[in-house]
């Protein structure tokens, strides 16, 4: 991802257009992450857009020091923006339809949106930080160390959140059986 480091240098030197390279390279994964945490693609897009604006300002002002990889840093901004959005209740109203309408992107995406609703229902009662931790661990497949870096906390705190989240989810499943 050397070209992303180059894009960062170009932005610092005043070339705002170089941010396109970063958006094109990272948006698919970031939107998927945010959608999984938020429970909808639309809310995920809102979060990622806000995160990109924060990231751009930080890069342009020289506040991205490059100590962590750009992708990890963006993951951190998106995750924290999503947690703030969940806490602040700034989510769009959900459609009452159980099946999403067929969209321009075909059946595979429609099935993915159905699965996203299942994930949203499963995680609905978790506090935002536990919800983000379980998505990063069990859905995104990151290690506790990576999650700790993203959530700016210790590995112990991450493990604690994961244990609490899993306990709550198992309890929920028992209640629904």
């Amino acid at each position: 991802m050397e070209h992303l480091a180059e894009a960062v240098r170009e932005i610092v030197n005043g070339d705002a257009k170089a941010f396109r390279k970063i958006v094109v390279a990272t948006s698919p994964r970031l939107v998927r992450l945010a959608a999984r945490i938020m429970g909808s693609v639309e809310d995920g897009e809102d979060v990622v857009q806000e995160a990109y604006v924060k990231a751009y300002r930080a890069i342009a002002d020289g506040r991205f020091d490059g100590r962590s990889r750009l992708e990890t840093w963006l993951y951190r901004i998106v995750t924290n923006t999503a947690i703030d959005a969940l806490r602040g209740g700034t989510r769009r109203p959900r459609s009452t339809d159980t099946i999403p309408e067929p969209s321009w992107d075909g059946a595979a995406a429609a099935e993915a949106r159905v699965a996203l609703r299942e994930l949203e229902t499963l995680l609905a009662e978790l506090p935002p930080d536990q919800r983000a931790a379980i998505v990063l661990k069990s859905v995104e497949g990151l290690s506790a160390a990576e999650i700790a870096e993203i959530m700016d906390t210790s590995e112990g705190a991450v493990e604690q959140r994961l244990v609490r989240a899993r306990t709550a989810l198992k309890q929920r499943n028992r209640n629904h059986d």
């Binding site: 396109r20 958006v23 948006s27 999984r36 990109y52 099935e111 699965a115 499963l122 989810l169 198992k170």
Partner: protein, 92 residues
């Protein structure tokens, strides 16, 4: 030893695979870049403001210079008239 996956792990693993096809709606990247471009609008405003201030300063200096030149011209004209008057008086 690999721990056996429980029902929750299996469910999360299934949802992980099933949501892999998620992606942004059409035009998302362009909307992001438009939002980034919009950050530069105040800079344009600042530029116009700075340009306007510069024009104002130049106009003020021009006005002062014009006044000084006007006063000097008037004084010179008055002195010239006075000299002429004196000479006419002398001739007479």
């Amino acid at each position: 030893m690999i721990e056996p996956k429980d029902d929750l792990d299996l469910e999360l693993s299934r949802l992980q695979g099933a949501t892999e096809a998620l992606h942004a709606t059409r035009g998302f990247n362009d909307r992001v870049l438009a939002a980034i471009d919009a950050l530069h609008v105040p800079e344009w405003g600042d530029g116009i403001l700075k340009f306007g201030k510069a024009i104002l300063v130049v106009a003020a200096l021009s006005a002062v210079a014009a006044t000084v030149v006007g006063i000097r011209s008037q004084r010179a004209e008055t002195e010239a008239l006075a000299s002429t008057y004196g000479m006419e008086d002398f001739d007479w």
